[in-house]
Structure formats: structure tokens, C-alpha cells
């Protein structure tokens, strides 16, 4: 649709403030970060142009490589384990079984608690000497499994990651809201055709939320995975041996060292990785079945 000349004024007037804010608070800072990534600068002395040396140093640093890998794992786990778990919960609770409101509240409750508080709680649970986890293991005769969960090279990252995966409430609520908007006639027709609850979920619910809330949740969760900071900072501060480090934590540590050049270079890499992730997720969800195809598929399945 081509805009009339007279429509352009109001259009620009409405878009203008948002564009200005976007430029001031996003575009200019990103350009600034990129420029600083080419400098050696401690924030106090005069900056020195360093060309791409910050980037070469960055990719030589095993701690940074470990951080990138951890972030990618985190984003994948978030997008493809945490969100599907949330989706299962959303599908179950949106069928409104007995006590569904209670469970919805229980699953969502951790979202209203500060991430720092949760991390402190889990730090106590994982404590090698007095922690609940080791206490339970010892009490059921599995004392040999008990260990320093957050201090072990092999156990620290899974320990930091696993507890967080189960906090699905946020995504669950988003998907539940979407599921409730699905026309109930689809389910009625499917029930008449003999489709089970499981088949209805697979062939009706999931295809209909795939391009809306599911895509949103996968994108959000992956981006959150790439932005991980407070849990890791509070639980392990990236240790032991940087095995739990993430890109944001790495960047934070470089800022603590007043190494603004390297910190900015890692921020640029984080932006690139983030963009790549979002593009990949969108590609993955592109070309999926629309509503009509879903109905056709469902009918075929039931037959």
C-alpha cells in the first residue's frame, strides 16, 4: 500500500520520537562500543588506537572462548529445553485440570523473586558441607555422590544451569495466554473425530502457537541465555577455572580491570552472537504450517 502524501506527516510525527530514542539510546551506544573496541583505554588515560588487537587477544583467551561456548549452550538449553518444558506445562494447565490456578501460581512464583535471592538460595543448597543436596544424598546412602557442586570443574556449569531450567513460569504464562485464544471449535471438532488430548496438543495447539507465543518465548529465552549474568556472578563468579563464565560476566570482569577496549570487543561479539541466534531462530520457525495446513495435517493424523 502506497501512502498518500498527506498521511506521511502524522506517520513521521508518530514514528519520530521512537526513532530518535532508538538512535540515541541504542544505535549511538552500539557505534560507541564498536569504536572503543578498537582502542586501548582505561577510562582515565588518553585512549590509544589498537586496531583489531583487542579481538585477536579476545580469541586467544581461553576464558572468553569458554564464555562463548557456555552462552551458546545456555541459549540452546533455554530455547529448546526450558521453553518446551514451559510449553508442556502451559498445554496441561490450559486444559484447566483440578487445581490449575494453584499450579499456575506456584510455577510463576519464582519469577517474582529476585534472581539474586534465588541464586543465594541455590548456593546454600549446593554448599558442599552444609548444603541440602549433599544432605539428602548422604541420608539416602549416596554419600559417595555428594561433592562440591559449585567448586567441581565438571559439576559447576551443569549445577548453575540445571536449577534455572526449571523456572518455566514466565514462558508458561505467555503461552497459556496464547492458548486460551485458540478457537475451541478446533478442539471440539478434533474430539468428535476421536483425537486424543495428546494428538490435539501436537496437531492443534503447538502449530497454532508456533509462530506466535512459541517463537516469542524461544527468542526471549535464547536472548536471556545469552545475557546470563547474576546467577553465575552470585553462584560461582565464573569459577572454577572459568568453567561457568559467560560473556556478560567476562565483560564485567574486564570492566573491573578498567580494560574498556577488551570489554567493548567482547560486547561486540555478544551483539553479533545475539543477532546470529535471533536470525537462526527465525529461520527455524519460517515456512512452518499455517492454520489451514495444520487443520489438514490434523485431519490426516486422526484418519
Amino acid at each position: 500500500m502506497k501512502l498518500e502524501r498527506s498521511d506521511r506527516g502524522p506517520l513521521y510525527a508518530f514514528l519520530g520520537p521512537a526513532i530518535v530514542l532508538m538512535v540515541v539510546f541504542f544505535v549511538i551506544p552500539v557505534i560507541y562500543v564498536f569504536v572503543v573496541s578498537l582502542l586501548k583505554w582505561n577510562g582515565i588515560s588518553a585512549p590509544v588506537f589498537r586496531n583489531i588487537r583487542n579481538y585477536t587477544l579476545l580469541f586467544k583467551d581461553t576464558a572468553f572462548k569458554r564464555s562463548v561456548i557456555n552462552n551458546v549452550i545456555w541459549a540452546l538449553v533455554a530455547g529448546f529445553i526450558q521453553v518446551p518444558l514451559a510449553m508442556v506445562m502451559a498445554i496441561i494447565l490450559s486444559r484447566k485440570p483440578k487445581g490449575w490456578k494453584f499450579f499456575r501460581t506456584v510455577y510463576f512464583f519464582p519469577q517474582v523473586i529476585s534472581g539474586i535471592a534465588l541464586a543465594m538460595l541455590w548456593r546454600a543448597i549446593y554448599n558442599a558441607e552444609t548444603g541440602l543436596l549433599n544432605g539428602i544424598l548422604r541420608s539416602i546412602g549416596l554419600g559417595n555422590v555428594a561433592c562440591d557442586w559449585l567448586g567441581g570443574i565438571k559439576t559447576a556449569f551443569p549445577a548453575v544451569l540445571i536449577y534455572w531450567v526449571f523456572y518455566v513460569g514466565y514462558y508458561m504464562v505467555i503461552m497459556m495466554a496464547d492458548i486460551t485464544t485458540i478457537d475451541t471449535s478446533y478442539y471440539e471438532a478434533a474430539t468428535i473425530d476421536g483425537a486424543t488430548d495428546f494428538q490435539q496438543a501436537i496437531y492443534i495447539t503447538i502449530p497454532l502457537i508456533k509462530k506466535t507465543s512459541l517463537l516469542t518465548c524461544v527468542t526471549l529465552a535464547s536472548v536471556m541465555g545469552l545475557r546470563q549474568f547474576e546467577q553465575v556472578y552470585m553462584l560461582t563468579n565464573g569459577g572454577p577455572a572459568n568453567t561457568t563464565s559467560t560473556m556478560v560476566l567476562y565483560m564485567y570482569k574486564k570492566l573491573q580491570d578498567a580494560n574498556y577496549g577488551i570489554a567493548s570487543a567482547s560486547a561486540v561479539v555478544l551483539i553479533v552472537v545475539g543477532v546470529l541466534f535471533i536470525v537462526c531462530i527465525r529461520m527455524l520457525f519460517e515456512g512452518q504450517s499455517d492454520e489451514a495446513a495444520m487443520i489438514k495435517k490434523a485431519r490426516r493424523a486422526v484418519k
Partner: protein, 422 residues
């Protein structure tokens, strides 16, 4: 009506904005972000001192404390404020490595002329030698610290030891005995900033490399050898030390299941707290101060690990009256009588020459004696190397103890961190 109301509202707003300025008196406000607050051992007396200063200068000068309970956060904030041109009127710096850049930034007040007027004589001789840049003292060394082991004599006796190990060989024999008796020989921590392990590493490096241990940076082989010893120490600490923080180390020491403790003198006050007593016996009554053991073949005998725990620095002022007010307050804090009181209440040590109170506790007296008798002193490793060293140290220790790197790899990891910052 609407128009009148709008004008009236506008006038009210303008008046509200202008009123504070219109009624402001000539009181000078000194903004002081301080870490000596909360549970810090210097907090109670510092608060009293500031209140007293404000009362004595009521209507003329007012010191406003911005509480900073986290040292690292305070450090980060200080750098940000300096970078953005908002250097606080007065600040505390606990890192030695930033002094050069901060002084060269020209954002700090040169205290040299004031010190030359006689104020400098209040300080221990030679205090400013290492900390002046191009003849300027912008960062005034205030709080000092010595790091030497304190041990629990009751545990030693129980294990059958009547003296603190004189050598590191003997030290590890003691560790074996302590372990066999169910005690942790010492606390270690690789979590948080790995403070305790950093101190032990400094002591070992000093014992091996002596006073010139930092002459070649991390290229001195003493650092690799010290890493081997540090790794060995982790066999004699409590479970979970790789993820432990200061709270864990202190907790074990207070529970009396750790035989040797290493921290700065500011911690001494805790040894005398009733709340840390067991069966009415203060922990201090079971404590003794020891010297760093001698390392066989090492060059560190008689040496001591120290640091400047806190510098005082003031922002450069355009207003001479404000500059005079800030200097007046710094002089007030560093007044020998006040420092004596501060030392008594906190156990901390200072660069100011003061008459120790006769009530000074025994442990603090012994620490002072150790400091006075040292043949030479070196900084701890965090103070001697760039900040990147201390940031990387916890990761390097856990990699070393976790078996991911050997002692040489540990040192290389730290070198890499420093290289990235240079």
C-alpha cells in the same frame, strides 16, 4: 481562571526549584563515599568521628557519607565517577596499582604543599616515598596492613604441637597431623576474590623469592614454585574450598575447626567479640601470632607481606574554601589522637605515628611487633600486579587445584590476563 491557575502552578514550580538555592547558606558539603560503614571494624568510630567533625563545624562544613558496603563495587563506582568527571570530594582507594593513572589524570588534589607544612611529620618516615608521582602526593597512605599467620594454640596443643612450624617442611608435617586429628590446617578459598589463597600465595612467594620477588614480574620462578606449594595446601583445608568465599573461611576459623588463620589486622577485633566466644572463652585467648615459615633454599627469611589497605584522596577543587575544608577534614581523620582511638576500636594499623592506647589488645600489639621487627616488606601479589591479576587469580587457582593446569600453566594464565590489560 484556567490561565491564572496555570500561572500560579508555574510560579510554585519555579519557586520550589529556586528556593533551596535562595535559602542556601555558605555551608560547604563534602561528599565522602566510604567503605568504613556497616560491619566494617572501623565503622563505629568513623561514624562518631564524622559526627563530631560536623558538630564542630556546624553551619560551615558538613561531611556527607555515601555508604559503600562492598569494596569491589566501591572501586568500580570510584573509577566510573572519575571517568565521568564526578570525582568525589573525598574518597578511599584500596588498590595500589591505579594510583599512577589516577594521579596523572589531574583530577585529584595535590596534598604535597599541605604535608610540607608539618602535617607530613604525623606520618611514619618514608610513607610517601613509594606513593608519590612526579613529586606529588595525591593519594595519602592511611591504613596499612601486615599479613602473618595467627594460630589456634588450643588446637595445636591437642594435636601435640607446642610451637608454630618454623619451615614450610615442618608446616606440612603439621598439616598432616592436623588432618589426621580431623582439623583443617588452614582455610583456603578459590571463590569470590580468593582472598585467603591470594594471601597464602603472597606469603609463599615471599618466603621463596625474598624482597626482590617482584623484580622480574611473574617471570620469577618463585611464582611457579609458590603455586606448587599453594596447590599442596588445598589438601589440608575444608571441603568445598574451591567454591568457598571469605564467609566460609571465617566461619571455619570461628568454629575452631581450623588451626591457622590468615587475614589483615582489621580482623583482630572479631577475635575479641563475645559473640564469637565459646564457653565464655574468647577466641583471642587461644590465639597466637606467628611468622611466615622459612622456605628451604628461599630468600625470604625475616620478610613480611604488607599492603596499603587504604589511601585517602580528594578531588581537585576550584573553590579554595572547599579545598581548605576537605584538607581540614582529612587532617581531622589522620590526627594521631583520633587514629589511636580508631586503631584501638578496630584493630587496624595505620601509617600515622600515634601513641598506642594502653588498652590495645595483645594480638594487635604482637602484630605491630612483627611489623616493627621485619627485615623487609613486600606488597601482597594483588597489590604488586595490575588489577587484571587479582581478577584472574580465583580462576587460575581453581584451574590449578582442579588439575586443569600445572603450576607453570597457573602462572601463564595470570600472565595472559596481565598481557590483555597492557
Amino acid at each position: 481562571m484556567k490561565k491564572t491557575l496555570a500561572i500560579l502552578l508555574a510560579l510554585v514550580m519555579v519557586f520550589a526549584l529556586a528556593a533551596p538555592a535562595a535559602f542556601a547558606d555558605d555551608e560547604i558539603v563534602i561528599n565522602f563515599p566510604s567503605v568504613w560503614v556497616g560491619t566494617d571494624s572501623k565503622a563505629p568510630y568513623m561514624a562518631q568521628l564524622i559526627e563530631q567533625f560536623n558538630a564542630e563545624n556546624a553551619g560551615q562544613i558538613k561531611v556527607v557519607v555515601e555508604e559503600q558496603t562492598d569494596y569491589q563495587a566501591a572501586r568500580d563506582k570510584l573509577r566510573t565517577t572519575i571517568t565521568t568527571g564526578n570525582t568525589p570530594d573525598l574518597c578511599i582507594l584500596d588498590t595500589t596499582y591505579d594510583i599512577l593513572a589516577y594521579t596523572e589524570s589531574g583530577k585529584f588534589m595535590d596534598l604535597t604543599p599541605y604535608l610540607a607544612e608539618g602535617w607530613g611529620e604525623d606520618f611514619v618516615d618514608g610513607t610517601f616515598d613509594a606513593w608519590s608521582v612526579d613529586g606529588k602526593v595525591c593519594f595519602l597512605p592511611f591504613e596499612s596492613a601486615v599479613f602473618t599467620p595467627i594460630y589456634n594454640t588450643r588446637i595445636f596443643e591437642e594435636i601435640g604441637w607446642d610451637h608454630f612450624p618454623a619451615t614450610y617442611d615442618e608446616f606440612f608435617q603439621f598439616c598432616e597431623d592436623a588432618k589426621a586429628a580431623g582439623y583443617n590446617a588452614m582455610g583456603q578459598m578459590a571463590g569470590e576474590n580468593a582472598w585467603t589463597s591470594m594471601l597464602w600465595y603472597s606469603l609463599i612467594a615471599e618466603a621463596i623469592g625474598g624482597k626482590d620477588v617482584y623484580a622480574d614480574g611473574l617471570d620469577n620462578p618463585a611464582f611457579v614454585e609458590a603455586a606448587e606449594v599453594l596447590k599442596h595446601m588445598y589438601d589440608y583445608t575444608f571441603e568445598g574450598a574451591l567454591s568457598a568465599g571469605a564467609g566460609d573461611v571465617n566461619g571455619h576459623w570461628l568454629k575452631r575447626d581450623t588451626a591457622i588463620y590468615l587475614n589483615g589486622p582489621w580482623w583482630v577485633a572479631n577475635l575479641y567479640k563475645e559473640e564469637n566466644a565459646v564457653d565464655g572463652v574468647l577466641l583471642a585467648d587461644d590465639c597466637e601470632v606467628a611468622a611466615n615459615p622459612v622456605y628451604e633454599g628461599g630468600q625470604g627469611e625475616g620478610g613480611l607481606v604488607t599492603t596499603v589497605q587504604a589511601f585517602l584522596a580528594a578531588a581537585k577543587q576550584d573553590d579554595p574554601a572547599k579545598e581548605a575544608a576537605v584538607v581540614k577534614f582529612i587532617k581531622y581523620i589522620t590526627d594521631p589522637q583520633h587514629v589511636s582511638e580508631l586503631a584501638l576500636s578496630s584493630g587496624a594499623m595505620f601509617f600515622v605515628k600515634y601513641e598506642p592506647s594502653p588498652d590495645t589488645n595483645v594480638i594487635s600489639q604482637k602484630l605491630t611487633e612483627v611489623a616493627n621487627n621485619a627485615d623487609f616488606t613486600i606488597l601482597h601479589v594483588n597489590g604488586a600486579f595490575p588489577t587484571a591479576f587479582s581478577t584472574e587469580f580465583p580462576a587460575a587457582v581453581s584451574a590449578l587445584v582442579g588439575g586443569q593446569v600445572d603450576a607453570q600453566g597457573f602462572v601463564d594464565q595470570l600472565k595472559m590476563a596481565i598481557e590483555m590489560a597492557e
